[in-house]
Symmetry: C2
Subunit: 379 residues, 2 copies
Amino acid sequence: MTAAYVLGTGMVPFGKHTDKTVEEMGRDACWQAIQDAGIDPRRIEAAYCGHVFQGMNAGQRVLVDLGITGFPVYNLENACASGSSAVLAAAAAIAAGQADLVLAFGVEKLTDRFQGALTPDPGDLEGYQGMTMPASYALRAHRYMEEFGLTREQLAQVSVKNRRNAAHNPNSQFHQPVTVDEVLGSRLIADPLRKLDCCPVSDGAAAVVLGSAALARQVGARAIRIAGGALTSGKFEDRPLPMTFEDITHRAAQRAYAQAGCGPGEIDVVEVHDCFTIAEILRVEGLGLFPRGEAGARIAAGEADIGGRLPINPSGGLIGKGHPLGATGVAQLVEITTQLRQEAGVRQVEGAKVGLAHCRGGSVAGTEGGACTILILTR
Amino acid sequence: MTAAYVLGTGMVPFGKHTDKTVEEMGRDACWQAIQDAGIDPRRIEAAYCGHVFQGMNAGQRVLVDLGITGFPVYNLENACASGSSAVLAAAAAIAAGQADLVLAFGVEKLTDRFQGALTPDPGDLEGYQGMTMPASYALRAHRYMEEFGLTREQLAQVSVKNRRNAAHNPNSQFHQPVTVDEVLGSRLIADPLRKLDCCPVSDGAAAVVLGSAALARQVGARAIRIAGGALTSGKFEDRPLPMTFEDITHRAAQRAYAQAGCGPGEIDVVEVHDCFTIAEILRVEGLGLFPRGEAGARIAAGEADIGGRLPINPSGGLIGKGHPLGATGVAQLVEITTQLRQEAGVRQVEGAKVGLAHCRGGSVAGTEGGACTILILTR
């Protein structure tokens, strides 16, 4: 099995784009990626679109707007990991030799559909009784604080770091850094989580052009290799789920590391699914990047800052850059690619050679969730 | 590239299942397919779920109900071709050697969401002005009748044939045959199409277990080979689209025939996407199975009956069996597999060796549609 390469990236800055349709956002991101790759769009053989709420044939609608039609288009959904699922499907087609040049993108316009936080799905009885996403992460935060002595201030530092990184990212929803006091003074959402512990409601789009090794050689040093990728779903458990350790992330990571032929010690930069401050802590421990129970304190101490031992979410993450569900996983890949190309400007992680992107999607009763995706990139 | 094989099939009879959840329907169809294949469900390596309206992580929710979790699950959407898109993605994973045993299924519960016909998507301005699915096919029917002299009675014969076939299919929504007079006397929907020219609103689920050649050898003669498969999207046209010829179906068919190494003359049995009576006529001509302009008259003359030259929709098709969007494409595969296994009982097409399943999904402005899928099976 050969590897797939990222040849080009594009994205529409995340934010509240009430003036743009989802087709326009998708089109702009895809066109940027095509231009960045320097390829003739007519050579694209297939497209994979990740989204959650954008209706039937969203990918096709974007591509009609772009003027590239008539080839296979797959729309993929895996909740908040929809975009990365589309990337994995696209990379698999190249790795299998079924195509040499494909487009993977993610789109989402949430402001059309939700005024504030996302409401539970119809039929989600637990959600309607209060067990929403913020509530379930609030329980995990309480448990982690109790078990490992994480302080409320340390938890806030995750948001402070990600908002600081976001301020340097032109593609971010937020450009204003926040302080620990501002996090602690923001509106209570689900104790102990406050508004600035949560990712915002966002619109946006992101795209990557993926190609075979032969095409990567033509592109040269700016082509970034997808060395490993994994998707897994949560396991059903007939006992209470562990709240402070993410087995789904751990299992996906083991597979991705094995495929890439590396371990957590070789990762230079990471984008993780920080839908809430506590989520970043749980995920980097699940990935084996920080010892269990220590990530919170170490992030607070600056170890995950740009310039620290292992920068986490240099893009600003979901908390700072925004979280338009289907676009998120693709935008992570855009950031890791930019970092490995050494083109991240003031956000640059010096000498980054190996990067990892982690996404989590959905909550399925009795399991740890619907999907976890991991992509490991190397230059 | 090796071929994938259908090792087992299952489905929940289509109909109005107000008493069953989508998870229950999906679980029952998957479990039947697993039992039919005679495999240990713990050996399944990945799952591909096609659906349109079933919310986040629908595939995972079905699999949790079934008790098989912890592996990659992809949810695919391509409007009415969602189920067949899931099958194609699953078959590609096997063909690429990325997995040896996968599950592909489709689920849909429409009665929760729609009282009668499907309403246009928000933002579908043409739909809200009246250009709904029945209306667009009504225009095509008028044009075809004008161009090729098809009579209203001949058009009705498509429904009569499919309802007759459905009456012999225990998995059908309708078990009562209809007459030409009943079709012509049914309620007018969009002139010239009447209620019995249209597929119904349905709930249901269908599943297939797909495996590699090595596993197919273990299963023996009941394993049916997927010899060819194609997915394509509609081309954007800046001129009026042809109304009486389906270019999208024609293009997909050319690719599928080439992959299978056969032509339309070798097909023994076909399931096509007869969302309306006129649709069946347009599709079998696009597939090259009947000369252009002649399919209507030939179907009316009995050429497509079970026992005729080329049986079309022996299952009853969408009109007779029902059309729970995401499940439809998988159910077509269930029927073709049953036919090639010579297990279709009174619906059996004698000696059927090569079968074709055709699905069409979605309407995207300025194009012929979102997706067309074709699967060619051989025994």
